[in-house]
Amino acid sequence: MSASKKVHVTTTINGEDIDFLCEPRHSLLEVLRDNLGLTGSKEGCNNGNCGACTVLLNGRPVDSCLVLGAEVEGAEIETVEGIACNSNLHPVQECFLEGAALQCGICTPGFMVASKALLEKDPHASEETIRFDLSGNLCRCTGYDKIVRAVQAAGQKMSTEV
């Protein structure tokens, strides 16, 4: 068997220096889930249409199923596992729970990451902006109503916190 040469990648994930080996054809999503045990990011479609695999790559939300593991050399990655601070939930996490903005929870990690990025950019994002910027995150359970409200509530929390 000629396995294609594995690539050695050094990166930072959730603030921690991590290095891994992967085949060129392995996506970042696969590396996170299978190599590194970070199963919080989910596979929903594997072609960039549902957002369940959203992570932050150098601060920007991306579909990790469309990034090769090999591409993140030297990059900074944030996954859902890095959103809470020690044992304290982040405002988006708190507001989703208080607002019952999840049912089965499979899309929730993607929403956590994307919402955090959105609210850090604009904590006062309007309903319209929220719906537009998060349109790449599909949810089939909630009908989105409570998600939008939770994001708005989290934005308020974040802008009043120091």
Binding site: R25, T39, I83, V92, L97, Q103, G105, R140
Partner: protein
């Protein structure tokens, strides 16, 4: 019952599994990793209909990294056994063949072989080396075509059962159902106004974001352990054991956290295959479907053809109804035609009705339940006809519904008489709602309403609770939690005992630990498993009463339990926790248990209001405002009830406006991805306002009625009615996508 003030019920505690879900810690099936685990890949038919001439797996087996290859030869022969799966019976050979094709493939995506290898890419590459020789046959994917005399035949031995009589020639129609009430033919003659139309609905999929996945470990001691995304671990266990022909008790099913089901994760697809791969390789095997596999190979809803007729008197009384319904069964018999027949006139008190329904096999994946299976289709038909009659009579569409709404004592066309129900109350809430009373006046805008119904079943649930030494409780139940139900169940136990929701640690057990529990589906979990938890609590209380009598030196009869769970007797009044602590210290430890099997349906009625704006240049529909009103009996956790209403509504909106299976000329699906299977994004819908009506279900200690399914029933009809009011164009086909609506509007204008 519904005016009672509860302590816990009606509040909105954070769900017990919440922190895990927002931090990514919750373990879903594809997150499960076992030492030595292999990855499986399923090879699927590229053809919609073909005979399998031969399968040569030798090259795949010889591929480095491959540990096992299986195909139909590895599956035991299950002949034509019928298994009772708790909520209906199933022909096992069909169920088995659906997991792995036997002599024929009946739809594109039908599994034909599977490989287990060290990683999924190797498994996929090896699978593609399996040589399958097919003899391609003619195929059919439209229900009426499949009913034709010369249609391609899927099953050589399938004959129609029509009211118990078998036909003499095989066809694609396994069953013809017929229901009659009164004398419809005569009643139509007496009607002052009659409307009749034909309707078509396309195949749509449940669209859960988590693809099917399973981990199987065929242990050396003969026990088969399965971790899976299932709505029912007990039915999964039974189906798997039956297909593999191994003793039921040898199979352990652990339901992982599940990423959506909506009825589509009740039938097994991957479990037997993963089990056989595990057995052959001696290693655990994990298989996850790709998104394309989910669309092509797991059960969507029936597409349908419907001809429905309604007759009314001039005063708006509906007096006659007639329905001819043909529903996809998919590749194997056993579709949703039954509920379709039962629901077509279920909201209205019509004295005379006749319904004929046909289950039709065709070259699509076998259909599965999708939230109120079969009801959305018929509501799309009937609710539009009700509007049309109202219009012909110059009557308000709400008024005609109020006039004819079913109540306690109304008899449905399939026979049952309704106990106390809440449709009238829902229509009343609609009438009082701010939405209904806010005028809609913009150009190209229209408002539509529709009612909906789903049975909501009871079935069997079990619960057990152990009391900790600090008076908190571990609650073990068997209902896989798709939407926060473990908390709603825990709340009912907390209420009866006088505890807080946080005093309960609810856990969803597996088939070894939990008592028998039927599926999470049928809108039954908060109702039936909640009831089981309540009864388990009552069981605990009775035990504690007896033990307290000892402690307090009085008789059991002297001790009463208040509404707040306080035990009073012999001058003492002690709350649950304090008594539990006391008893534990005195050497008494407690386990409470209950099994329930409520037989009555919970009868969830609802009504919805949709405001739309139609772009006349493009036919695109924008949903401006939406309100969903539903009778929950009693909302245990209002946020999660609202969530069910909103989620089902938005699925219905997708079904109404854009979702459909597109078929190529060769009857293969053209849009098996989220790109072109267009489910609503959050930019496509407004806020969904909800109004929870609580009429109180007398069959449940807290009055609960199931709510999960009804919300998906009215939206296509409400939107169709709204579109009509905006454009004067009546849409009789789903989805009402822009090209279709634009074309229909053009045709209407041309013929004016």
């Amino acid at each position: 019952m519904t005016t009672t003030q509860y302590r816990v019920i009606g509040t909105r505690p954070v769900r017990h599994d919440g922190a895990d879900k927002v931090t990514g810690k919750a373990i879903y099936t594809a997150d499960t990793k076992l030492p030595g685990m292999l990855a499986g890949f399923v090879l699927r038919s590229p053809h919609a209909h073909a005979k399998i001439i031969s399968i040569d797996t030798s090259e795949a087996e010889a591929t480095p990294g491959v540990h096992a290859v299986i195909s139909n030869a590895d599956f035991p022969n299950v002949e034509d056994k019928i298994a009772d799966l708790g909520e209906g019976s199933v022909n096992l050979s069909y169920l088995s063949a659906n997991c792995m094709a036997q002599k024929k493939v009946l739809y594109r995506g039908h599994a034909v072989a599977a490989v287990a290898a060290t990683d999924v890419h190797i498994a996929e590459e090896a699978a593609r080396k399996i040589k399958v020789e097919y003899e391609v046959l003619d195929s059919v994917t439209w229900v009426l075509d499949a009913m034709e005399e010369n249609a391609p035949l899927l099953h050589e031995d399938l004959v129609t059962d029509s009211l118990g009589e078998k036909a003499d020639k095989p066809s694609n129609v396994p069953v013809h159902l017929h229901f009659e009430k009164g004398d419809a033919a005569t009643a139509f003659k007496e009607a002052d106004v009659i409307v009749e139309r034909e309707f078509k609905t396309a195949t749509v999929h449940q669209g859960y974001i988590e693809p099917h996945a399973v981990v199987a470990d065929y242990n050396e001691d003969g026990r088969l352990r399965i971790w899976t995304a299932t709505q029912g671990s007990f039915t999964c266990r039974q189906q798997t054991a039956e297909i593999l022909q191994i003793p039921l008790g040898n199979v352990l099913v652990t339901p992982c956290e599940i990423g959506g089901g909506f009825g589509g994760k009740i039938t097994v697809y991957l479990e037997p295959t993963a089990a056989l791969l595990s057995k052959k390789s001696g290693r655990p095997v994990r298989i996850a479907m790709t998104r394309a596999d989910v669309f092509e190979a797991s059960g969507p809803t029936p597409g349908s053809f419907m001809r429905v007729k309604l007759g009314a008197k001039n005063d708006g009384t509906l007096i006659a109804g007639e329905a001819w319904l043909a529903y996809d069964a998919g590749a194997y018999p056993g579709g949703m035609i039954g509920p379709g027949c039962m629901c077509v006139f279920s909201c209205y008190d019509i004295d005379h009705a006749i319904v004929d329904g046909y289950d039709v096999c065709l070259n699509k994946p076998k259909t599965s339940a999708y939230r109120a299976p079969g009801a959305t289709q018929v509501a799309f038909a009937t609710e539009q006809l009700v509007d049309e009659i109202a219009q012909k009579l110059g009557m308000c569409e709400l008024e005609i519904r109020e006039k004819n709404a079913v109540k306690e004592g109304s008899r449905r066309v399939d026979g049952p008489v309704y106990p106390p129900i809440g449709l009238v109350e829902c229509l009343d809430a609609l009438k009082q709602s701010e939405h209904w009373n806010t005028p809609l006046e913009g150009a190209n805008q229209g408002r539509g309403i529709a009612a909906g119904f789903w049975f909501g079943c009871g079935l069997k649930s079990s619960a057990a609770c152990t009391v900790n030494s600090d008076g908190t409780i571990n609650l073990l139940e068997g209902s896989t939690d798709i939407g926060g139900s473990r908390t709603a169940i825990a709340m009912q136990l907390a209420e009866v005992l006088g505890l807080e929701a946080n005093d309960i640690n609810p856990q969803v057990g597996d088939t070894d630990t939990a008592g028998y529990t039927d599926v999470t589906g049928g809108s039954r979990v908060t109702f039936a498993t909640g009831m089981a938890a309540y009864e388990a609590g009552r069981d605990l209380q009775q035990q504690m009463r007896t033990l307290a009598a000892d402690l307090w030196d009085c008789s059991t009869d002297d001790i009463t339990i208040g509404e707040d769970g306080v035990f009073s007797g012999n001058g003492k009044a002690v709350g649950f926790k304090a008594l539990a602590v006391e008893l534990f210290a005195a050497g008494e430890h407690l386990v409470g248990r209950a099994t329930v099997a409520p037989e009555c349906p919970t009868n969830g009625f609802g009504a919805q209001i949709a405001d739309v704006e139609v772009d006349p240049e493009t036919g695109k529909v924008t949903v401006l405002r939406y309100t969903t009103i539903q009778d929950a009996g009693k909302a245990i956790h209002p946020s999660y009830v609202e969530g069910q209403l909103q989620g089902g509504t938005v699925q219905g909106i997708g079904w109404a406006l854009n979702e459909e299976y597109f078929y190529r000329d060769d009857d293969t699906m053209a849009n098996a991805s989220f790109l072109d299977y267009r489910m609503p994004t959050m930019l496509d819908v407004p806020m969904i306002d909800t109004i929870i009506v609580e009429t109180g279900n007398p069959e449940h200690p807290y009055g609960v009625r199931g709510v999960g399914e009804t919300p998906i029933v009215p939206p296509p009809a409400a939107l169709a009615n709204a579109i009509y009011n905006a454009t004067d164009t009546r849409m009789t086909e789903l989805p009402m996508s822009p090209p279709k609506l634009w074309k229909a509007m053009q045709s209407d204008q041309a013929s004016e």
